[in-house]
């Protein structure tokens, strides 16, 4: 009951416009494990939504459903009010949803340009890779996002953690997703690199896209997000406008001591 009331409160304040993406009553089971149980999520235009919860709370499973990696066992997904099915990562990308995975984003042995255009190289005459245009666009993207990378021909395994992260985020922006999902974007980054990555996340919003970000670091969450949804044990236990809550309350929601 309490949960329901909180849900409504969260929605009322931001529901000036329709959600761009909405998930209703999502259930996902892995064998006997209930990874997600009747979880809802709504994402509004120009919003940075944070998804928090302890390990195993179901955050990753939820975003993988949006990214087309998993199919929900129950529930519906709506995009701008229309019911849709996201059957594959490609389908998700075609809906202009870009996902930045924690570690699986880049192919180490390929260079910067090839990674930016991974899976969808620019082509001429349909089949042939247009390397020249890809290089030009990469230079453009990196300049726009103020990401400095020594050489575009460098295999990305030679880049630092921060550069790699910037590249992965940059790729999502470059493809001008209207929804960008970030899984633990600041994990394993140094102080300066973290600062830069957080700035990039804000930049995504300025470009007119909505963002869903997962993080364990509540300080980072409070720095960038507009709204926070808390999961616990595969259920949604709360949604808070950032300006009307504090770290303490979120921690209590995460641990279930509220």
């Amino acid at each position: 009951m309490v949960t329901n009331k909180l849900l409504k409160a969260g929605r009322d304040i931001t529901s000036k416009s329709e959600p761009i993406l909405e998930l209703r009553g999502i259930c996902k089971y892995f064998g006997g494990v209930h990874a997600l149980e009747d979880v809802g999520l709504e994402l509004y235009p120009d919003e940075i939504l944070a998804l928090v919860g302890d390990n195993g709370a179901g955050k990753s499973t939820l975003i993988k459903i949006i990214a087309g990696v998993y199919q929900p066992d129950k529930g519906e997904v709506l995009m701008e009010g229309k019911e849709i099915e996201i059957r594959s990562p490609r389908a998700s990308m075609d809906l202009r949803i870009e996902t930045v995975y924690q570690e699986l984003a880049l192919v180490d042995k390929l260079d910067v340009v090839e990674n930016i255009f991974l899976g969808r190289p620019l082509t001429k005459f349909r089949w042939f890779v247009n390397r020249k245009r890809m290089v030009a666009e990469t230079v453009d993207i990196l300049k726009r996002l103020k990401i400095s990378i020594p050489s575009l021909k460098e295999p990305v395994q030679n880049l630092s953690g921060g550069q790699r992260q910037a590249l992965a985020v940059g790729r999502a922006i470059a493809w001008s997703g209207r929804i960008v999902i970030l899984d633990e974007p600041t994990a394993a980054l140094g102080v300066e690199e973290t600062r830069k990555t957080l700035a990039l996340i804000k930049q995504i919003k300025e470009q007119g896209a909505s963002v869903i970000v997962i993080s364990h670091n509540l300080r980072h969450i409070f720095e960038v997000s507009d709204r926070i949804i808390v999961l616990r044990g595969g259920r949604r236990v709360g949604s808070r406008i950032k300006s009307k809550t504090n770290i303490d309350e979120i921690v209590k929601l995460i641990t279930g001591s509220l």
């Binding site: 990696v69 594959s88 490609r90 192919v107 180490d108 991974l118 190289p121 890779v129 295999p155 030679n158």
Partner: protein, 355 residues
């Protein structure tokens, strides 16, 4: 400043060691070997290497995608036998030679694609490890080839098979001048000895195939996806690449090259032969690909490197033979080079990768 330059030179050496080694071998054998240096012998090396070149090209695609294909040697044997059987029987039934030969090749190559297709489906859809799936196919193709050949070489092929196998694109003789595709009629011994034969037909066919597929690998979307999958299957999948369909295509390409090698073998030896000619070929093909700079972990390699790897093995073969050394030295030498190739890849990855 000096250090930086030394490093740069070292990295060039590490990256192109196979080419440098090939050049050293050519120089060494030219000095030591009898009749090694000369157009005639170089042409022999290339002609002898054609089979391995085809197999290794297909294998390059598979290895870059992060897999391995052990079945190609016996797929080649299977196609060789099947093509020969079809040619022989159609010829015996009284059909024109051209029809018997083209039908034989087509049937052989089409049937040869099936093992590749099955390999791909097993690996991509049913998650069988490539090593196991293709090892199984290795046995199956071996058994089937044996069944069709009943353990004997298949002879009595249409006579034109031999002509095609021996044909060159052009001939030049001081007496008759330049003539294309057909050998000029010469009677005197000296004239026959002086006849210059320019590029065997099989070499031309293979060169065309190689150029096409080198281009596919380096410059097309298909090639890019192959590298992406080999580098990281998960990243490729999540970047929206249809990985299983791509892998099925990759193993089919490998089988296609093995089939072409099988059909070519019919013309080269004018027989349908299995076993003693075809076993251990897949291992040399894999060795050539790795010597050419591909990584068995996937995501790295190219056709140019593979060509150098094949020529290296071919030159070694030919050179050791001309020096009068027994054949087992060739196995030892190739084995050593293969291990060195992998060691270089392991210990100097930053040298090999960095620009």
């Amino acid at each position: 400043m000096h250090k930086k330059r030394d490093r740069k030179i070292l990295s060039h050496v590490a990256r192109n060691w196979a080419l440098l080694f090939l050049i050293c071998l050519l120089i060494l054998f030219s000095i030591l070997g009898k009749n090694f240096f000369g157009l005639r012998n170089f042409s022999n090396i290339v002609l002898a290497a054609t089979t391995l070149l085809l197999l290794a090209t297909g294998e390059t695609f598979v290895i870059i995608s992060g897999g391995i294909d052990l079945s190609i040697g016996f797929v080649m044997g299977f196609v060789c036998v099947v093509s020969a059987v079809v040619m022989r029987d159609l010829h015996a039934a009284g059909l024109p030679q051209v029809i018997s030969i083209t039908t034989g090749c087509s049937v052989g190559i089409l049937l040869g694609l099936i093992p590749g297709l099955i390999n791909g489906i097993l690996i991509a859809k049913l998650r069988v490890p490539p090593f196991i799936a293709t090892l199984g196919m290795w046995g199956i193709a071996n058994g089937l080839a044996w069944r069709f050949s009943e353990g004997f070489p298949i002879a009595f092929l249409p006579p034109r098979v031999r002509d095609i196998g021996m044909a060159y694109i052009a001939y030049f003789s001081p007496k008759t001048g330049l003539s294309f595709f057909s050998r000029p009629v010469l009677t005197e011994r000296a004239d026959i000895w002086n006849l210059m034969k320019i590029i065997p037909i099989p070499v031309l066919v293979i060169a065309i195939l190689l150029v096409i597929f080198a281009f596919v690998l380096a410059k097309t979307k298909f090639g890019q996806h192959t590298y992406a999958i080999g580098g990281s299957v998960d990243a490729a999948e999540r970047a929206g690449i249809n990985v299983s369909r791509h892998l099925i295509k990759t193993y089919t390409i490998s089988a296609f090259f093995a089939s072409c090698a099988g059909a070519l073998l019919v013309f080269k030896i004018n027989m349908g032969v299995h076993t003693q000619y075809t076993s251990s070929y897949e291992l040399f093909a894999i060795a050539a690909v790795v010597i050419g700079g591909a990584s068995l972990m996937g995501g790295k390699g190219n056709i140019w490197g593979t060509i150098i790897g094949v020529l290296l093995i071919g030159t070694l073969n030919n050179g050791l033979m001309l020096m009068g050394l027994p054949i087992f030295y060739r196995y030892i030498a190739v084995g050593c080079i293969l291990i060195v190739a992998v060691l270089i890849d392991q210990f100097f990855p930053e040298l090999v990768y960095k620009e």
